[in-house]
C-alpha cells in the first residue's frame, strides 16, 4: 500500500537521520527511527535510507538497536553490500557483556537474508552455542537452522549436528526444544532428527520442565519413536499420562495423537484414550475461545467417524447458541447429524428443524442437508419434517429440501411415495440451478406417480429460452425424454418443441449435442430408447456402503492434530495435489540411491523369482530411462488401464523398490515413507520393446492403492500380463506387512 508522496516522506526521514542535532538528542533520534519502522510496516519502500540506519545501530540504547536490526533484517536482501557494513557492529555486540545484547545481535545477524553472510556468522554461532547464558544458547541453536536455510544446498556439517545432538542435554528447556527444531530443519533431507531410545527417554524425563509450546512440539517428535517392547510402550504411556490433563489444548491434542499412534496395535487402549480426552474435548467445544472451539469440533467429527456413539449422550453440548459465529454453527450441525442414535433422534431433529428457519440461508441449508443425512436411517420422521418445511415457501429452503429428496429416493426407495406427494407446488419457489436440477430429475424419474409432472415440465420448456444454466437444460432434456416413455401422450408435443429448440437455437454446445443425441436415439425406435434410458430408479446398496463409515482409528490418526481436519476434504485435496505436482520434479531427482538390503526382501525372493520366469511374458531390465524421458513419455501416452487394489498402512519405499526390481520393474520416482499422498512412478519393458509406465497412488483413507498403467504399444495381452505381475508384487508386499 504505497502512499502518495512516499518519496517525500523518505527524503524527509533521510534528512532527519543525518541531522547531527537529532542524532545528539536520543529521544528524538529514536522517534525518527520509529517513524521509519512505521512506514515500513505499512509497506512503503524504505530501503534507500539503509546507510543512515546502519549508522543508527551504533548506540547504547537497546530499543533503538532492536528497531534498527528489525529494519536491517527486512531490507538486507535488497542491499547486501551495505548490509555487510552493519556486520561489524553486530560482531562487536556478539561479545558484549550483557547476554541480552549478545542474543539480540546474534539473532539479528542470523536473520540477515543475503548471500555471503554465512562466513561471518559461523564463528559467532559456534561461540553462542557454548555461551554461559541460556538466552544466547537458545538464539544460537536456532541460528544454526537459519544459517543452513540460507544455503539449503550446502553440505550438512557433521560436527555441528553432533554439537546440536549433545545440546539436547542442555539444562535449559527451551534450548532442548530449539535443538530438536534446528536438527529437524538441518536434517530435512535425511528424514529429520533421529529419535532413538536414549533421546526419547531423555525427552520424556524433561517433559515436566517444558512450557506448553515445548511439550506440544516434543510430543510431535516422539511420534517418530517406536518402542522396542510392549513393556516399554506402556511405561511411556504412563509417563505421558499427565499430558492428557494439561491445561493447554495444544498439548492435550498432541498427547492424544501420540497415544493413538503408539497404541496402534491395541485398539482397546486407543478407545480408552478417546474416552479420556472426551472431557477436555467437550470443554474445548464449549470454550469461549471460538477458534479453539472450531478446531475441537473439527476433531470431534474425525473421532465420530470411528466411534459413532462416542458423544451421543452429550448431544446437547452441540446445540447452537444464537450468538455463536457462523463457522461454529455449521460444524455443530454436522456433528449433530453424525451422533444421532435411537435415544436422541427426536431431540436432535427438533433442534435441527429450528435451524432450518434461521436467518442465515447457509445455516438453514446446512441443517436441511443434515436432516437429509439422518433420513438415511430415520426416514419417515425426517421426510415429514422436510415436507413441513416446504409450506414456508422460502426459496433457499425449498431448493435444499428438493435436493435432499432427490438424494434420498435414490438411497431409500421406501420414501418415494411420500416425496412424490410433497413435490407439487415446489416449482414456484425454486430459482437456483441446483434446486431446479433436482426437481426436474425427480419429475423425470418418478413422473408417472406425480399427476402434474408433465405440466410442470412444460412450464420449464416454455421458459427454456430464458434459462441461464446449461446444466438445467441438460437435466430437462433427459427428464422429459424419460417422462415421455411413461406418459407419451402428454409429453410428445413438448418434447418435440424442446428438441427443436435445443438443436436449432441453443448456443451451448453440450446442450445441443445432448439434444442431437436424443433425437438420433429416438430415430432408432422406442425400444432402444427404453433400453438405454430406463435404468434402476434407486440403489439402496449405495447407502449401505456409505453407512459402513466406521473406519478404524488408524485410518485418520496420522491426520489428527494437523490442518487436514480443519479444511474441508475437497479443499485439502486441492492443496495437497498442488503441492505434490510441485515436488514431483524434486522427488524424481532425489531418489537416486537407496539401500537394497533388508531381511524382508530376502524372504520374498523365492516367491517372486519363479513368478517372473513363468509364462511367455518376460520383462527385460531397462536401466536407461531417465526421469525426464519418463515424464515426457508419460505425458504423451493415454492411460491404458486403471485399477484399485487393497493396501494397508504406510508404504516403505525401499521394500517396494527391491521387490519391484526382482521382476525387472524399474522405479523412477518414489515418495518418501509417510508422505501424504504417497506416489510412485514405475517403468518396465518387455522383450518386444513395449514400454509400460505405471503410477501408484496410495489412498490411506480407504486402504487402497490406485494403479494407472500406460503403454507405448497397443498390445492388450502384454498389458494384462504386466498388470498381473504388478498385482502379484503388490499383493506380496501387502501380505508381508499384514
Amino acid at each position: 500500500m504505497p502512499y502518495l508522496g512516499s518519496e517525500d516522506v523518505v527524503k524527509e526521514l533521510k534528512k532527519a537521520l543525518c541531522n547531527p542535532h537529532i542524532q545528539a538528542d536520543r529521544p528524538r533520534y529514536r522517534n525518527v527511527i520509529q517513524r521509519v519502522i512505521r512506514h515500513m510496516t505499512q509497506g512503503v519502500d524504505m530501503s534507500s535510507i539503509f546507510m543512515e540506519m546502519v549508522k543508527a545501530s551504533a548506540t547504547v540504547d537497546i530499543v533503538q538497536k532492536k528497531l534498527v536490526y528489525l529494519y536491517m533484517c527486512t531490507y538486507a536482501p535488497l542491499k547486501p553490500d551495505l548490509a555487510l557494513l552493519a556486520i561489524n557492529t553486530l560482531c562487536k555486540d556478539c561479545s558484549d557483556p550483557n547476554p541480552m545484547v549478545r542474543g539480540l545481535a546474534l539473532r539479528s545477524m542470523c536473520g540477515l537474508r543475503m548471500p555471503g553472510v554465512q562466513e561471518y556468522i559461523q564463528q559467532p554461532i559456534l561461540n553462542g552455542l557454548r555461551d554461559k547464558a541460556s538466552y544466547v544458547r537458545r538464539v544460537a541453536v536456532l541460528g544454526c537452522a537459519k544459517m543452513y536455510n540460507l544455503h539449503g544446498d550446502s553440505e550438512v556439517d557433521g560436527a555441528l549436528v553432533n554439537e546440536l545432538y549433545s545440546l539436547l542435554r542442555d539444562q535449559d528447556p527451551i534450548v532442548v526444544v530449539n535443538c530438536l527444531r534446528a536438527l529437524e530443519e538441518i536434517l530435512k533431507h535425511e528424514g529429520g532428527v533421529v529419535i532413538n531410545k536414549p533421546i526419547a527417554h531423555h525427552l520424556l524425563n524433561r517433559m515436566p520442565d517444558l512450557d506448553q509450546w515445548g511439550q506440544a512440539e516434543v510430543l510431535g517428535f516422539l511420534l517418530r519413536y517406536q518402542p522396542r517392547s510392549e513393556e516399554e510402550l506402556f511405561a511411556i504411556l504412563n509417563l505421558l499420562d499427565s499430558s492428557l490433563q494439561s491445561s493447554s489444548p495444544a498439548v492435550v491434542m498432541a498427547a492424544t495423537k501420540l497415544f493413538l499412534v503408539l497404541a496402534k496395535e491395541f485398539p482397546h487402549v486407543q478407545t480408552d484414550v478417546l474416552v479420556r480426552v472426551k472431557g477436555p474435548l467437550l470443554t474445548a467445544c464449549s470454550s469461549e475461545s471460538r477458534e479453539l472451539c472450531f478446531a475441537a469440533l473439527c476433531h470431534v467429527r474425525r473421532i465420530l467417524r470411528s466411534l459413532p456413539g462416542h458423544f451421543s449422550s452429550h448431544y446437547k453440548k452441540f446445540f447452537c447458541s444464537y450468538s455463536e459465529p457462523h463457522y461454529i454453527k455449521l460444524q455443530k450441525v454436522e456433528v449433530l447429524c453424525e451422533l444421532v442414535n435411537d435415544e436422541n433422534v427426536q431431540q436432535v431433529l427438533e433442534e435441527l428443524r429450528d435451524y432450518c428457519t434461521d436467518v442465515s440461508a447457509d445455516l438453514a441449508q446446512a441443517a436441511i442437508f443434515a436432516i437429509g443425512g439422518i433420513a438415511r436411517t430415520y426416514t419417515d420422521q425426517c421426510v415429514q419434517i422436510l415436507t413441513e418445511l416446504l409450506v414456508l415457501r422460502q426459496e433457499h429452503i425449498t431448493s435444499a429440501v428438493v435436493q435432499t429428496f432427490r438424494n434420498l429416493v435414490w438411497l431409500c426407495p421406501q420414501c418415494t411415495e411420500a416425496v412424490c406427494r410433497a413435490l407439487p407446488g415446489c416449482e414456484e419457489n425454486i430459482q437456483d440451478s441446483e434446486g431446479k436440477q433436482a426437481l426436474i430429475w425427480l419429475l423425470g424419474v418418478h413422473g408417472e406417480t406425480i399427476p402434474n409432472a408433465p405440466y410442470v415440465l412444460e412450464d420449464f420448456v416454455e421458459s427454456v429460452k430464458a434459462e441461464t444454466f446449461p446444466a438445467v437444460k441438460m437435466e430437462l432434456l433427459t427428464a422429459l425424454l424419460r417422462l415421455f416413455l411413461s406418459r407419451p401422450a402428454e409429453c410428445q408435443d413438448m418434447l418435440g418443441r424442446l428438441l427443436y429448440y435445443c438443436i436449432e437455437e441453443e448456443k451451448d454446445m453440450a446442450v445441443r449435442d445432448r439434444g442431437l443425441f436424443y433425437y438420433r436415439l429416438l430415430l432408432t425406435g422406442i425400444d432402444e430408447v427404453k433400453r438405454i434410458l430406463c435404468s434402476p430408479k434407486s440403489d439402496p446398496s449405495l447407502g449401505l456402503l456409505e453407512d459402513q463409515a466406521e473406519r478404524p482409528v488408524s485410518s485418520w490418526v496420522s491426520e489428527f492434530n494437523t490442518l487436514v481436519p480443519m479444511y474441508s476434504k475437497a479443499c485439502w485435496a486441492a492443496i495437497s495435489s498442488l503441492q505434490v505436482s510441485e515436488s514431483r520434479g524434486l522427488e524424481a531427482m532425489g531418489t537416486g540411491v537407496l539401500s537394497t538390503s533388508g531381511s524382508l526382501v530376502s524372504e520374498n525372493k523365492e516367491e517372486l523369482q519363479p513368478l517372473s520366469d513363468s509364462g511367455s511374458f518376460l520383462l527385460v531390465p531397462n536401466g536407461q530411462l531417465t526421469a525426464e524421458q519418463f515424464e515426457k513419455t508419460w505425458l504423451s501416452l493415454e492411460v491404458a488401464h486403471q485399477e484399485v487394489l487393497p493396501w494397508q498402512g504406510v508404504a516403505h519405499p525401499d521394500t517396494i523398490q527391491t521387490a519391484l526390481q526382482m521382476v525387472n520393474i524399474q522405479p523412477i520416482a518414489l515418495s518418501k515413507a509417510g508422505v501424504q499422498p504417497w506416489k510412485a512412478y514405475l517403468s518396465a519393458q518387455d522383450g518386444a520393446g513395449c514400454l509400460f509406465l505405471t503410477e501408484l497412488l496410495l489412498d490411506p483413507e480407504h486402504s487402497q492403492v490406485h494403479l494407472s498403467v500406460k503403454q507405448s504399444q497397443d498390445k492388450t495381452e502384454a498389458l494384462n500380463s504386466f498388470i498381473s505381475v504388478l498385482k502379484t508384487v503388490i499383493g506380496t508386499i501387502v501380505d508381508i506387512k499384514s
Binding site: T41, I174, A216, A250, A254, H326, T357
Partner: protein, 434 residues
C-alpha cells in the same frame, strides 16, 4: 511453526507485520486483507487457505491478529499462541485496541522478537518477559543482579519461580471466576447449561512456599466423609461434580490423581491455578420468562419477566436483557418496573438495563412493538432473548474450603498469611428462546 504475524485494524490497514520465514512474502499481508477482512460474506472459518498458505486469525474487538504458515501445523497450538500473544499484550498495555497498538508498536515489535524466533514459540511468560522488556523501553543496562535473575528464572529447578523472593507482608488473593452458559427453550426447559470456571491466584509470598488447595469437589468429600453415612449425605449436598479440570504446570498431578489433593509451589504474582467445567446442579442466577403475542399483522406485544434465583442478601450487578425486535419495527413503547429500557433501532433490539438486583426478586418489562406492513413472506425467525449479569457467587456451587501455605525454611506460618477469596459469576452465552 509460524511464518509471520500480522495485526490489522478493522479497515484492513496493517498495524504490525513481522515475517519470520523466507517462504512468506510481503504479498501475504495483502492476500489476507483482500480475501478475509474485505470479503463481503461472513467469515467461513478461522483458518483460511489462500494460495497454499494458511492464515489463522483471531479477532479482539475490531483488531485482527493473523498468524501465517505454509506448513501443515497443529492448529490448536497456533490459536493458543495467538491467545497468549493477546494476553501478553494485554498485560503490558491493557485493552487491545487500535489506539493502544499504535501507541505501543515498538513494544509489540520487541515482544514479537522475543516470543517467536524463526517462527518457533520461545519464552512467553509475561513475568519473565517483564524483567527485560519494560514498558518504557529505556532500561538499556541491566544490573548484575537482574541478569542473574533472568537466567535463574529459566534455568532453575522450578522454571516458574525464582529463588530469594521476599515480601514484608505475605498475602494471597484467590479469585473464583465463572462464566455460566445457558440455552433454554421457550417452555422453560434447560436445553443445555454449563459453567466454565477459573481459579486465579495472586500470590505475594516469600521463599518457596508449598501450597495446598481444597475445594468442595464431590470425589474428595466422599473420600473423606467415609466415616458415617449421615455425614456423606449432608456434605453431598454441598459438594459439586466437576466434569473436567486442568491445572497450571506447577500443580503436582501425581498427587491429584492419587489423593485428589491439589498441592503446588506457586509462581510469583498472578497466575491461573485451575480451569474447570461443570454441567450438573448449576445455580442459574436468573430465569427469563418471555411472552410474545402477535396482535394482527402490524403489532407485537412482548412481556418479559426476569426472576433472580439466589440468596436475598446478595446483589447481582450490571444486568442487561436484550430483547430482539423484528426488522420491520416502526416504533416501540416500553414500560418497565425497574431500571431503564430503550429501543435501539440500529441493533434491532430493546435493551433493558438494571444496575442492581437482589436475590429472590422479580421484575418485568412490557413492550408494544409496531410493525410496518411488509409483503415479505419470510417469517421472523425470533432470535433468543439474551442476558448479561454479574453475581457475587459461583453458579457452579464451587467453594474454596482451604488454602494452606507451608514454608519450612522461612519463619512464617500459615496463620501469618493474609488470604482473600472472591467469587464472581458472569454470564457467558445466556439465551432463552422465545
Amino acid at each position: 511453526m509460524i511464518g509471520g504475524l500480522f495485526i490489522y485494524n478493522h479497515k484492513g490497514e496493517v498495524l504490525i507485520s513481522r515475517v519470520y520465514r523466507d517462504d512468506i512474502g510481503r504479498n501475504a499481508v495483502d492476500a489476507f486483507r483482500v480475501n478475509v477482512i474485505h470479503a463481503r460474506q461472513q467469515v467461513r472459518s478461522p483458518v483460511t487457505n489462500i494460495a497454499r498458505t494458511s492464515f489463522f486469525h483471531v479477532k479482539r474487538s475490531n483488531i485482527w491478529l493473523a498468524a501465517v504458515t505454509k506448513q501443515n501445523v497443529n492448529a490448536a497450538m497456533v490459536f493458543e499462541f495467538l491467545y497468549k500473544m493477546c494476553d501478553v499484550m494485554a498485560a503490558y498495555f491493557g485493552k487491545i485496541s487500535e489506539e493502544n497498538i499504535k501507541n505501543n508498536f515498538v513494544l509489540i515489535y520487541e515482544l514479537l522478537d522475543e516470543i517467536l524466533d524463526f517462527g518457533y514459540p520461545q519464552n512467553s511468560e509475561t513475568g519473565a518477559l517483564k524483567t527485560f522488556i519494560t514498558q518504557q523501553g529505556i532500561k538499556s543496562q541491566l544490573t548484575k543482579e537482574e541478569q542473574s535473575q533472568i537466567t535463574s528464572q529459566v534455568t532453575g529447578q522450578i522454571g516458574w519461580r525464582r529463588e530469594g523472593i521476599k515480601y514484608r507482608r505475605n498475602e494471597l488473593f484467590l479469585d473464583v471466576l465463572e462464566s455460566v452458559n445457558l440455552l433454554m427453550s421457550p417452555q422453560g426447559q434447560v436445553l443445555s447449561a454449563h459453567v466454565s470456571g477459573r481459579v486465579v491466584m495472586k500470590s505475594y509470598l516469600s521463599g518457596m512456599p508449598e501450597c495446598k488447595f481444597g475445594m468442595n469437589d464431590k470425589i474428595v468429600i466422599e473420600k473423606q466423609g467415609k466415616g458415617t453415612a449421615d455425614e456423606t449425605g449432608k456434605s453431598g449436598k454441598q459438594s459439586i461434580a466437576i466434569d473436567d479440570c486442568t491445572f497450571h504446570q506447577c500443580v503436582r498431578l501425581s498427587k491429584f490423581d492419587s489423593e485428589r489433593s491439589i498441592s503446588f509451589i506457586p509462581p510469583d504474582g498472578e497466575f491461573e491455578l485451575m480451569r474447570y467445567r461443570t454441567t450438573k446442579d448449576i445455580i442459574l442466577p436468573f430465569r427469563v420468562i418471555p411472552l410474545v403475542r402477535e396482535v394482527g399483522r402490524t403489532k407485537l406485544e412482548v412481556k418479559v419477566v426476569i426472576k433472580s434465583n439466589f440468596k436475598p442478601s446478595l446483589l447481582a450487578q450490571k444486568i442487561e436483557v436484550r430483547i430482539p425486535t423484528p426488522l420491520n419495527t416502526s416504533g416501540v413503547q416500553v414500560i418497565c418496573m425497574k431500571g431503564k429500557a430503550k429501543y435501539k433501532a440500529s441493533e434491532n433490539a430493546i435493551v433493558w438495563k438494571i444496575k442492581r438486583m437482589a436475590g429472590m426478586k422479580e421484575s418485568q418489562i412490557s413492550a408494544e412493538i409496531e410493525l410496518l406492513p411488509t409483503n415479505d413472506k419470510k417469517k421472523w425467525a425470533r432470535p433468543p432473548i439474551s442476558m448479561n449479569f454479574e453475581v457475587p457467587f459461583a453458579p457452579s456451587g464451587l467453594k474454596v474450603r482451604y488454602l494452606k501455605v507451608f514454608e519450612p525454611k522461612l519463619n512464617y506460618s500459615d496463620h501469618d498469611v493474609i488470604k482473600w477469596v472472591r467469587y464472581i459469576g458472569r454470564s457467558g452465552i445466556y439465551e432463552t428462546r422465545c
